[in-house]
Point group: C2
Chain length 485, copies 2
């Protein structure tokens, strides 16, 4: 089978391109990208060549002109960009990383200008082996070790917002570098020599020229080992993705934009690998720009989920913290607005006055209804001590002044119905095992200094219905799930 046929088969098998689909080809001028251009052209794909002059060496402009000339020989348009890549690095970003980002940003720009949605690069099996080794050395998890995929959706690419909807394809991923070089020789193509490829201060070049040859003394087939490891890990990663997707809804709850909870019991019933993948996915959801989530972070989270005591918090990574609630852990940014759909919460900390009769909206579809009810003589006995989680009834005559809905304040106290003494509202929350982050926005109904109702939890003794009460003030909490009566 010829190289061109191999490439055609790979494109077909991996669904990389539709027949005659237009594609932007990243062409540096080296053997890999010349092979790519030649194959794509031979297979009838309309191509736009993109080449970024990194301006790292004098003479880099000549390479750009050479690529332009080659594109011309195919009757193909070449877009040449220029970027002072050296100026882009710093801030923890290596020259290699900066160059890589600039290159993709440029190719995406070319694609967007030409309304093309696929970008092809000349990555080979050798690049794949190096990538897997690099990730291995860095300590990437299974999803890192899978290396480059034949096709990657670029939607979530960090630093390239324009990449949404674009796909990066690698039609040469099954060819070796030697094969692309041999192809160029056979087709009379003269690749430029990229001198930066020999600069071993670049990590990738050091791997290529020093470490891989060294590893070959242990196993001459080490490149294949790395490539196959990438394939195996790609399988594992996709298996885990599927299992995480399946488990997600029963284990993870989104509580506001910047917080998630994990339900502990069903989480722990998953296998350890799925647990790890769930934690990684949760972190990735909340911090999509975080590149490498370390193994230690994941293990720390697992330990905490299994053993963390209620109310305990632990910093996780990237500003996130994990906190133990009741049967769940909460993962959030400290101070984030957290929505607890299963608990009544205020929409703001502003005081609001309750009209009688009236209704006030709480967060997440909850609402609070107020009404007055004249009590017929016969009913009064039944109303004494009337309190449920969703409803509290008061003696209207004991309440002097407007009803205020507000969050709890430091020092708030209440004498719960039927009890002798007063207690701190803060202690009430603890007794009732209300998740700590849900306390600050808990609705409280007060009249002057008297706390009438810590909504859904306890009403006060002082304003209770008495046998002689003639009018009941009824507060009624309704959750979003509850049917309208």
């Amino acid at each position: 089978m010829t190289i061109t046929q191999q490439v055609a088969n790979f494109i077909y098998k991996e669904h990389l391109l539709e027949p005659h689909q237009t594609v932007v080809a990243g062409v540096s001028g080296g053997p890999d990208s010349l092979c790519l251009l030649d194959c794509l052209h031979a297979l009838g794909y309309p191509v736009v060549v993109g080449h970024l002059d990194h301006q790292l060496r004098p003479g880099s402009g000549d390479e750009a002109k050479y690529v332009e000339k080659i594109a011309d020989s195919y009757g193909v348009k070449a877009i040449i960009g220029q970027e002072n890549v050296r100026a882009l690095c710093g801030g923890g970003k290596s020259l290699e990383e900066a160059a890589r980002l600039a290159r993709y940003r440029f190719l995406v720009h070319v694609a967007k200008t030409h309304r093309i949605s696929v970008i092809a690069t000349g990555h080979t099996a050798d690049d794949q082996a190096e990538t897997v080794l690099m990730h291995f050395l860095r300590g990437a998890g299974p999803s890192g070790l899978r290396g480059m995929l034949p096709a990657t959706k670029m939607d979530t690419w960090r630093g390239i917002p324009d990449a949404i909807g674009m796909t990066l394809v690698r039609p040469l991923l099954n060819l070796t570098r030697d094969e692309t070089q041999a192809y160029c020789n056979a087709r009379g193509l003269s690749p430029v020599v990229d001198h930066s490829n020999l600069d071993t201060t670049f990590l990738r070049n050091r791997l290529r020229h020093e470490l891989l040859p060294e590893l070959e003394t242990y196993n001459p087939g080490i490149r294949n080992v790395l490539i196959r490891m990438g394939q195996v890990m790609a399988g594992e990663a996709s298996l885990l993705e599927g299992l995480v997707a399946k488990a997600w809804d029963t284990i993870v709850n989104e509580v506001g934009d910047e917080a998630l909870t994990i339900e502990i019991a069903p989480f722990l019933s998953q296998s350890i690998s799925v647990q790890r993948a769930l934690v990684r996915t949760v972190i990735d959801r909340m911090r999509p720009t975080l590149r490498d989530v370390g193994f230690e972070t994941v293990e720390r989270a697992l330990d905490f989920i299994e053993e963390g005591a209620r109310g305990k918090r632990l910093p996780l990574t990237g500003g996130l913290e994990i906190m133990r609630l009741q049967d769940e852990v909460l993962i959030s940014f400290p101070g984030a607005a957290i929505a607890f759909p299963h608990l009544p919460q205020l929409t703001s900390s502003k005081e609001r006055t309750l009209e009688i009769p009236g209704k006030l909206q709480l967060a997440q579809g909850w609402s609070l209804f107020v009404d007055e009810k004249r009590l017929p003589q016969s009913d009064r006995d039944d109303f004494v001590y009337s309190e449920t989680a969703m409803k509290a009834s008061f003696d209207a005559m004991s309440i002097h002044g407007p009803l205020i809905l507000r969050p709890p304040r430091q020092g708030d106290r209440i004498r719960p119905l039927g009890m002798q003494g007063r207690m701190k509202v803060a202690d009430l929350f603890i007794n009732e095992q209300i998740p700590q982050p849900a306390r600050a926005n808990w609705p409280v109904v007060a009249c002057d200094d008297l706390i009438l109702w810590v909504v859904g939890l306890r009403m006060c003794h002082e304003a209770r219905l008495k046998p002689e009460s003639e009018v009941a003030l009824v507060l009624h909490l309704r959750s979003s799930q509850e049917e309208v009566p």
Copy 2:
């Protein structure tokens, strides 16, 4: 936390030993094993020390005596063995492998003689990092990359049949080599220096003294990377084991001792990782002594299962071959006796005579019943052309001579009931899509040269029931699943 406490915690958390459980400790005399012995003793576990003199160097006997002396200082029994390890290698077995096998065989022997079921070794986190790296270089799959487990059942250990029921535990697997050395210093223990540890012709020593320091220039935390990779891979391996166990019964059928079939459709509905693991497990079932099943073998099997044409065969590994049947592939040793529990098969190729009435046993619980039935005038019409897969009725008067049950022979022909011409029995098998390996043992009932019934498939036209038939000869096939009427 002291080292002893750390070891105690690890033993507890990983369920390595029951309190006061007696254990054989493998003690070379180096820092790791002295630390092991001292900790086990301090934690109250009764110990028997095992030490094998490998006789690789002059002076190895002195080490043995030193270990004996140390054991004595703990008031503990030491069993010293001797083995000329150099004489054991060869046949593809390296000196390291031979030494390792001899050592474990000796420790198992010590355990067995003392009726002890647990053997402890002093493997540390550094050993773990080296093991994972070694497996990585060799190209092991996920289950190889998991490295050493804290506890390993030794039942299936190749070359040590006595190990059945024994467990190998590694209480120091969370300690570094530096920690065991520091422990020895602090406790005034003087480990012997094993000079073979410095011999870099041993692969492990080369990794330890050359490759790992080299990798540390890429990532100073490479040892931790390797250890954590082992942990992640252990998780993946156990996840896959669970998924394989779950899928096994609906996908894999044992057809005799030396053959398995894989049902293609449910196999392909599994994720690629589970498919790989299933193939590995199938091979491992059939060739448990095969150590490393290569990635290429697995991929070849996957390709074949997806695309292999019916009747095609492919050598797999270790003498196994894979063959496409109908909706299944068969994995077997060429020429192996294959049992198809869902098909009627002879137990041997020997001819047997059928008594009338009578019953003959077939393989896998199938049986063949013979009976004669006098036909009342009124029934005869119903019997004409009477044939089902399980039952064939013949005109007794058309059969002259004893009924023979035998396998098909080359050139066997039959005129199937209701058809004009004769056909080869071999072609009948093809038409009926009988798995090739099931054909040689297919039961055939013949009388002289006349094939009466290719059992369960077609009966002959010549001896059919006719309207004038007075006696029917009824052959009845019964499968193991079928209820006795």
